[in-house]
């Protein structure tokens, strides 16, 4: 029995960040990397299943990304994941979430897990599509925004509770293997102590490249992606103003603003 947990190292913004000169992304200097918050929950869900099970359950975490991603994978190992896989080739730079789904599907075909968990979305890009695209490439059933899970390792069905708008919940029975995208709050993620992270440094992280997966450069990267970033910017804001004063003063001020917009001043 094996659960594959797809995780991502996300970037968060430092205060007073700056946008890169090419206006396609934030300047690397201002990015702080950490494991995506949703992935804490999906890993925890896998760990809970592992720890509650009488039979052996292997939890494998996988992430697509450059060297720095190892830090986040170590955190997962520190929390108790059995193995960690990092997939990377320079050609993968610029991949969109759909393409990442393709890469992860190739990993899943090799690992042959019984269940795949991913986070609902990543906190930086917020496409909420990696897990779904992964299920589509695998041609597996999927359930998105899972806020509750009843699953016994080895069984061919799982009951998931999906979170809907307006506080509604939907209970869904799903055939396994399946891909579930896990929502925040489904459990309480454990703390990875720094000592644990340090000890996890001794555990190996398997590295897999394009060719190991039987993919070619054309399958990945910006070239294979259907979407590409044109521009990143901070939209102007603050167009609303509160007008203080007595009703007469407010009216006068309002009249002034209208005149200004009409170009009469």
């Amino acid at each position: 029995m094996k659960i594959l947990v797809a995780v991502k190292e996300v970037a968060s913004l430092d205060d007073d960040f700056e946008i890169r000169d090419d206006h396609l992304d934030v300047d690397e200097d201002f990015l702080l990397y950490d494991l995506n918050e949703w992935d804490d929950y999906s890993l925890e869900e896998a760990m809970n299943i592992k720890e509650a099970s009488d039979s052996d359950v292997e939890v494998v975490v996988v992430s697509v990304g450059p060297d720095r991603v190892e830090e986040s994978l170590r955190k997962c190992l520190a929390k108790g994941a059995d193995r960690a896989i990092r997939v990377w080739s320079d050609e993968m730079e610029g991949s969109d979430s759909i393409t990442i789904g393709r890469v992860l599907a190739a990993v899943a075909e090799q690992e042959k897990p019984d269940m795949i968990f991913a986070g609902v979305q990543s906190s930086d890009d917020a496409n909420a599509s990696t897990g779904i695209s992964l299920s589509s490439y695998l041609n597996w059933p999927h359930a998105a925004v899972v806020a509750g899970l009843e699953y016994t390792p080895g069984s061919n069905k799982a009951v998931v509770t999906r979170e809907l708008e307006g506080g509604m919940a939907q209970e869904v029975e799903i055939s396994c293997p399946a891909v579930l995208t896990i929502q925040l709050g489904i459990n309480t993620p454990r703390y990875a102590s720094l000592r644990g992270i340090k000890q996890a440094a001794a555990k190996p992280i398997e590295e897999i490249s394009l060719s190991d997966l039987g993919l070619s450069a054309e399958d990945v990267g910006a070239y294979a992606s259907f979407a590409r970033v044109r521009r990143m910017y901070i939209p102007e804001k603050g167009m609303a103003t509160m007008i203080d004063g007595t009703p007469a003063e407010q009216a006068a001020k309002l009249a002034e603003i209208i005149k200004e917009y009409r170009g009469e001043l």
Binding site: L32, T188, R190, Y191, S193, L194
Partner: protein
């Protein structure tokens, strides 16, 4: 006059040989039981982990003897109990020496060498001294009985704040029964001893070598006179004496046999605990050896033998219970109960012949004898318990070691997890960007040197609260101005400074602490400076006491010491005296942790303030509640916060103007408490630095004005 040789007490006088054999058989069995008990106890301690406390044996032994002879620790905060204990202790020691002297002659020097010495003047003085000793013990025990029965001291109430009245281990009545059995046992041995002495005198009243010298045993003689006056003659007294002799011998020997199994063992365990006292306990927490896989205390055998000895040393005197700020506000923690819980746990598991399975040794949990997670998280590591313990029990290191396990397993408040993650990520506990650490310097009319780039005399380690918290930034800027005015060549680490780790370590996140400490040490080592100064007692403690374990040997001073020097040397001049009634709150990490009681008080006096002490001051200062990471864990609603408890204490001072603190966390905690406890408009909470700034003469007008505005 009689021959000196004749003036003595004939042992076993009038006994048949078989009776003497019977007594010896009984005596040897008592000793055998005693020795077996000692063996069981030592085997229990040996089931703990190694501890390095054996070093400097002679110095430690000397300290222990001194502490015991002066009774210094037992007299603290309870003089009467200390004196009563001294009466019992010294009386008991003399009685023991007396018995040993008789044994020495009767069983060793006389049968082996034919040498006798227990007669004549020596015997008479011996009798007098032992009578006094016995009286002292009776007086001491009577006071102890009075104290237990009528004084109703809260510290002697064994009810547990961490258990419900319906829990089986809530009121610990078996301890109360043991206490009383001990007191009654003791007093009965002593009283029967005196009655025995008296009945022997009457029995032998026709023997002038006995009767003529009876007043050398004044208590016995007095009782003898009374009994004789009541009509008891030599024959009746002789019968009485025989019965009493066996009764007295029986309970005295039973008492000896029971020592290792009852609270009486504290005569050994408390002495040993005092001898193995670590003066750095809590101030310097234990490191985790490199090769050790597991961290913290999970099972009872994860404690060191010294910890286990500490547990047995506790005499339930309740001083820690009384001093603990968590207990004072009704949190589910009493340091006494942590120790007693663990002791009961150790006795139930480690006194067995075979060590139980590991699963049965887990000290964390909700069962009887186990320690609740809530209990451990209630501790503010203020060291009040360790500081006052008369027998050197070191509660805080044990609590932190247990927390290390909780942290390792993630058993903590989610909000604390977030803080720890943020400290790892940003190097500060405020969730702020690293870049913002020195942002406060931008408001200054001068630039502070970057100590990473140029040598300075004094390295200023600012600390998180002083760097990021807006209220504290005011103080931080004032301190910068004072340093500049005094002409001190100082600098900062700017963005490279990280949380010093003191509280992270006390939370129990040892890995993160190691990371912070080693990062700061390597940053500091790259800089050129003579000494460090800080306004933060927490950073002060860990850099001073704990960084050396990680290779960081730095001279560090708290600002109060530095400013006091600058004032005395005339480098800072006062142009104003403050006509204020003030009180001073000793920060735990400056006061109890590092004995920095005087410098702040000296400065306060130099400023002309009228310093009125709160009842709990100096070593008995009452923690603001922020220590041990509690500043990151919200206190439960509905119960009093330690800071409120403290501010009410200050509120009792008549016409108080200012509540002075000298710690950034205190400023935050007490500003809040002053508002929530309703003292706004009555008195102010100020950092000592602010008062100093008001009085110091600044050369540069703009700096001065700016300081006023601040």
């Amino acid at each position: 006059m009689n021959e000196a040789q004749e003036i003595t007490r004939i042992l076993f006088q009038g006994f048949q040989t078989s009776s003497i054999y019977l007594f010896y058989a009984f005596g040897y069995s008592a000793i055998a039981v005693f020795l077996y008990g000692c063996y069981v106890q030592v085997r229990k301690y040996r089931r703990g982990q190694p501890d390095s406390a054996w070093g400097e044996f002679l110095a430690r032994f000397g300290d222990m003897v001194k502490t015991m002879l002066t009774h210094r620790t037992i007299k603290r905060r309870d003089k009467a109990a200390g004196k009563a204990h001294a009466a019992i202790f010294f009386g008991f020691v003399l009685l023991f020496l007396g018995t040993a002297t008789i044994t020495l002659e009767y069983d060793i020097t006389e049968p082996l060498f034919g040498f006798k010495f227990w007669y004549g003047d020596f015997y008479l003085w011996f009798s007098l001294v032992l009578d006094i000793a016995g009286t002292a013990v009776i007086a001491g025990v009577l006071y102890m009985m009075y104290r237990r029965k009528w004084l109703k001291l809260p510290k002697l109430d064994y009810k547990r704040p961490d258990r419900e009245p319906t829990d089986p281990d809530y009121d610990r009545s078996e301890y109360r029964r043991e206490d009383w059995a001990f007191l009654w046992g003791f007093i009965i041995i002593l009283i029967t001893g005196f009655l025995l002495e008296a009945s022997r005198l009457i029995w032998l009243m026709n023997d002038p070598t006995v009767w003529d010298y009876r007043w050398w045993s004044p208590v016995g003689a007095l009782i003898a006179n009374v009994l004789h006056g009541l009509g008891i003659g030599p024959e009746a007294a002789g019968h009485f004496r025989t019965g009493l002799w066996w009764f007295h011998g029986f309970i005295a020997l039973t008492f000896v046999a029971l020592i290792p199994f009852t609270k009486v063992k504290h005569i050994f365990t408390a002495s040993a605990s005092l001898m193995f006292r670590d003066p750095m306990a809590g101030r310097r927490l234990p490191m985790v050896p490199e090769d050790q896989e597991e961290i913290g205390v999970k099972t009872i055998t994860d404690l060191t033998w010294k910890n286990l000895l500490n547990l047995d040393a506790c005499t339930k005197c309740g001083r820690c219970h009384e001093a603990c700020p968590a207990n004072a506000v009704g949190a589910p923690l009493s340091p006494r109960d942590v120790i007693l819980s663990l002791r009961e746990f150790a006795n139930n598991t480690l006194q067995k012949k075979e060590l139980p399975d590991e699963a049965e040794l887990d000290v964390h949990g909700k069962d009887i004898g186990q320690v609740f997670m809530e209990t451990l998280w209630s501790c503010r590591t203020c060291l009040a318990c360790v500081e006052i313990c008369p027998v050197a029990v070191e509660h805080v290191p044990i609590i932190v070691q247990m927390r290390r396990k909780l942290v390792d397993e993630g058993n903590m408040e989610p909000i604390l997890q977030k803080t720890l993650q943020s400290v790892h990520k940003n190097g500060n506990s405020m969730g702020e960007s690293k870049r913002k650490r020195a942002k406060w310097t931008k408001d200054l009319p001068f630039t502070i040197k970057d100590a990473r780039k140029e040598p300075v005399d004094v390295m200023w380690f600012v600390g998180d609260y002083a760097s990021f918290d807006p209220r504290n930034q005011v103080v931080t800027k004032s301190f910068a101005k004072l340093m500049r005015q005094a002409g001190v060549d100082f600098g900062l680490l700017y963005e490279a400074e990280m949380n010093a780790g003191n509280d992270i370590r006390r939370v129990g996140e040892e890995g993160l602490y190691e990371f912070l400490a080693t990062s700061n040490i390597s940053t500091l080592e790259k800089c050129d400076f003579q000494s460090i100064v800080t306004t933060d007692p927490h950073s002060f403690n860990t850099i001073r006491n704990e960084y050396p374990d990680f290779g960081g040997e730095f001279e560090i001073n708290h600002y109060t010491t530095v400013i006091k020097q600058l004032l005395e040397q005339g480098k800072l001049k006062l142009n104003k005296q403050l006509d204020l009634t003030v009180t001073f709150h000793d920060p735990c990490h400056l006061g109890r942790y590092n004995k920095g009681y005087d410098a702040p008080r000296d400065i306060i006096k130099m400023l002309g303030c009228d310093l009125v002490e709160m009842a709990r001051n100096r070593d008995n200062s009452f923690c603001c509640g922020a220590g041990g990471g509690r500043i990151w864990i919200p206190d439960p609603v509905g119960i009093q916060k330690p800071s409120e408890n403290r501010i009410h204490e200050a509120g009792e001072i008549e016409d108080l103007d200012v509540f002075i603190v000298s710690c950034p966390k205190d400023l935050t905690m007490f500003e809040d408490a002053r508002k929530t406890a309703g003292y706004e408009g009555k008195f102010e909470v100020k950092e000592l630095i602010e008062l100093i700034t008001e009085c110091v003469e600044f050369d540069d007008e703009s700096v001065d004005e700016d300081a006023d505005a601040a």
